[in-house]
């Protein structure tokens, strides 16, 4: 199967390419750039005039909900949503049901992903059994079954000795550990950032220290154990500063942030809109500015969707009684382009944070369109205006405040392993 993507603006940060050119794909791989390989006959032609051609996006945190409650989503439905958003690689947390703490669950996810046939899913394994923070998970067996990193998710390991042992063991095998930092006691019962809006609405607050206390502990133990560590979905400016300081000291830690924490603040919760019930919570303007600054300076390398689909009923209740999280696969790129529109990043920088940077953090053979590489490609029209609607969205969850909201920048085609897995009509 030969595909020719013609006349698009190819942006490939890995190879520092930004030019209008043609891309030749053969047998799932990049065959040539600009000039046709000898004897190349295109089976399919994609006209990418006025469009951007870039590596398929890599979403470093998205919940596909399988295995687990099928009313929220499945690998099939959420894969479709992902490729409609230009995402060709998705990293899923171990908080499935059952939890990813046995090789069988990891294998199941990989198999379902292959069946769906849309993209690549790399599950993260549980750091401790049942995420209970007591006993180490079989990390080596999990890694052999496809787990790309290990995390205890938002269930902080209360016992610091157990946490130290986890990190030492992961370091033994050079596994990446992902921290989604949240102190359990400080987070207890909270549903939004603890500030004046929270006080007015009379909701239980999640203080900044919920994150920063745990970031501090994890940084200290990372340094002590020498483990490779990544901090997922930061929400506080102070966390960014602590991580920047650690990086300056030479600690090889990385971080990502969800697009919603870059765009929204706790003031959005005014009016008790349940779609703004998120964990980590939307925080202050100062935090948001600090996260954007961290992204620009490189302290934070990647942007993710933190996609969390829910059924309607899970969001139909008074604010604190609803389940936290919003969907984001289909809007990740469009919303991220706002950072370019505001001239915080240029387009190649943004694309790097959505492709090459997460690939580098995870050590993936992806996010790179050099000749011979896998043809995972996203093609989008940066000027196209569109709206995500409940009828046209692919995710089983419809829970996002950006539903029916004008968006700019629309994915037109997505290729995975050289196959067109999504085409906008």
């Amino acid at each position: 199967m030969n595909i020719l993507i013609k006349n698009g603006r190819l942006i490939d940060p890995a190879n520092k390419i930004d030019s209008i050119t043609d891309l030749y794909i053969s047998n799932g791989h990049i065959a040539s750039i600009n000039t046709a390989p000898e004897g190349f006959v295109a089976d399919q032609l994609i006209d990418a005039s006025d469009k951007i051609v870039c590596p398929g996006l890599i979403d470093i945190c998205a919940h596909a909900r399988e295995p687990g409650p099928s009313q929220k989503g499945s690998i099939k439905t959420e894969s479709m949503a992902a490729v409609a958003g230009g995402i060709t690689t998705m990293i899923t947390p171990p908080t499935t049901n059952p939890i990813i703490d046995t090789p069988a669950v990891a294998k199941l996810i990989k198999d379902r992903c292959t069946e769906a046939g849309k993209l690549t899913i790399h599950p993260m394994g549980a750091l401790t059994k049942a995420l209970e923070g007591e006993q180490l998970s079989p990390m080596h067996a999990l890694a052999s079954s496809g787990c790309i990193a290990f995390t205890n998710s938002r269930n902080a390991i209360a016992n610091s000795l157990v946490l130290t042992r986890c990190l030492e063991y992961a370091a033994t095998h050079d596994f990446l550990v992902v921290f989604q930092a949240q102190d359990a006691a400080l987070a207890q019962g909270g549903c939004m950032h603890d500030d004046s809006t929270c006080t007015r609405l009379g909701l239980n607050g999640i203080p900044e220290s919920t994150e920063t206390v745990e970031v501090a502990r994890c940084l200290l133990l990372t340094e002590q154990t020498g483990v490779r560590a990544h901090f997922g979905q930061l929400s506080c400016e102070r966390s960014v500063r602590m991580i920047a300081e650690a990086q300056e000291r030479g600690l090889p830690v990385t971080a990502d942030v969800s697009i919603q924490n870059l765009l929204l603040t706790d003031e959005n919760v005014n009016g008790f809109n349940n779609n703004f019930h998120l964990i980590p919570p939307l925080r202050s303007q100062l935090d948001r500015a600090g996260l954007i600054q961290g992204l620009i300076s490189g302290t934070i390398q990647a942007i993710c969707s933190d996609h969390q689909p829910h059924e309607r009923a899970a969001k139909e209740a008074p604010f604190a009684d609803t389940e936290p999280g919003m969907i984001g696969l289909e809007t990740l790129l469009s919303l991220s382009l706002w950072l370019v529109e505001q001239e915080m990043l240029d387009l190649p920088q943004l694309i790097e944070k959505l492709t090459l940077a997460p690939a580098a953090i995870l050590g993936l053979d992806a996010g790179n369109l050099a000749i011979g590489r896998k043809a995972d490609i996203c093609i989008f029209d940066p000027k196209a205006e569109w709206m995500l609607t409940p009828e046209t969205s692919y995710s089983r969850g419809k829970n996002t405040p950006f539903m029916d909201h004008p968006l700019k920048g629309k994915v037109t085609n997505t290729l995975h392993n050289g196959q067109v897995v999504y085409s906008a009509n």
Partner: protein, 334 residues
Amino acid sequence: MLEHTDPSQVQLTKDGELKHFITTEHLSREVLTEILDTADSFVDLGAKQVKKVPLLRGKTVVNLFFEASTRTLSTFELAAKRLSADVLNLNISTSSTSKGETLKDTLMTLHAMHSDMFVVRHSSSGAAHFIAEHVTPDVAVINAGDGRHAHPTQAMLDMLTIRQAKGAFEPLSVAIVGDILHSRVARSQIHALRTLGVEDIRVIAPNTLLPHHIESLGVKVYTNMQQGIKDVDVVMMLRLQKERMNSALLPSESEFYKLYGLTMDKLALAKPDAVVMHPGPINRGVEIASSVADCDRSLILDQVTNGIAVRMAVMSMAVSGQTKSRSNNNGTEV
């Protein structure tokens, strides 16, 4: 990036009239004064031989209490009956109904029975707002207390009591003392006092019972009771809500009483004609001394009487607002 809505707007018709009563925040001084004036006209009704007026005749009021209450529930029931409404009281414990779907289902069922008004008490902040906005917009919703968010009828009966005792609001200094953190009453009082023109509003509590950034609501924060109560005209005590205290907020009740309990000694620091209020039920010897609660400067029983009048006022105003808003909507559809 996204606009956020003002939660108080849901309770007003297009013409700015009350159709629900969810919160005192962002309501105009005119609306608050109208509530007080209307309530004033009902105050004397209780003393008459025939205590009823026909304003809600033929209407069905459902008191939907997801949280235990005797005093608020009974004053709402009396208020509705004095307005000639049919009243249904439902006590639904939240422990047996686990999550929100049940709340919605319960409401849809009651809605199908053609109720005209829901009086809702719920342990979750935003519950009344959720019902008014998403579940039953054509039924008047009166908030009888939602989580820590608001208890607007309590705040308005307090305002009525203050107005009766003091006249104008502007020159007053008002202190609110006690468990501000967990108190929906305090939040609603602060918004109402500010809108009615009180400039010197003080909250007095230890840091563990103060919500963060409470000063953003326009109050002065005191952690020392003696300093905070000095020369105030009104002392509003709050109940120390023991049932909500699930973590280490205070060393002991006795230490709290020593530092923040209202005794005659502490009251002596306020203005000589200062009045004392409490939303009840009072914990004698925890937040207030018996000698204070029973003294002639205590308005605690006036508050109860005024509670019925204020609830009659907002119920009649909300039903009238709903009727008008519905006829307006019908008008535009034609």
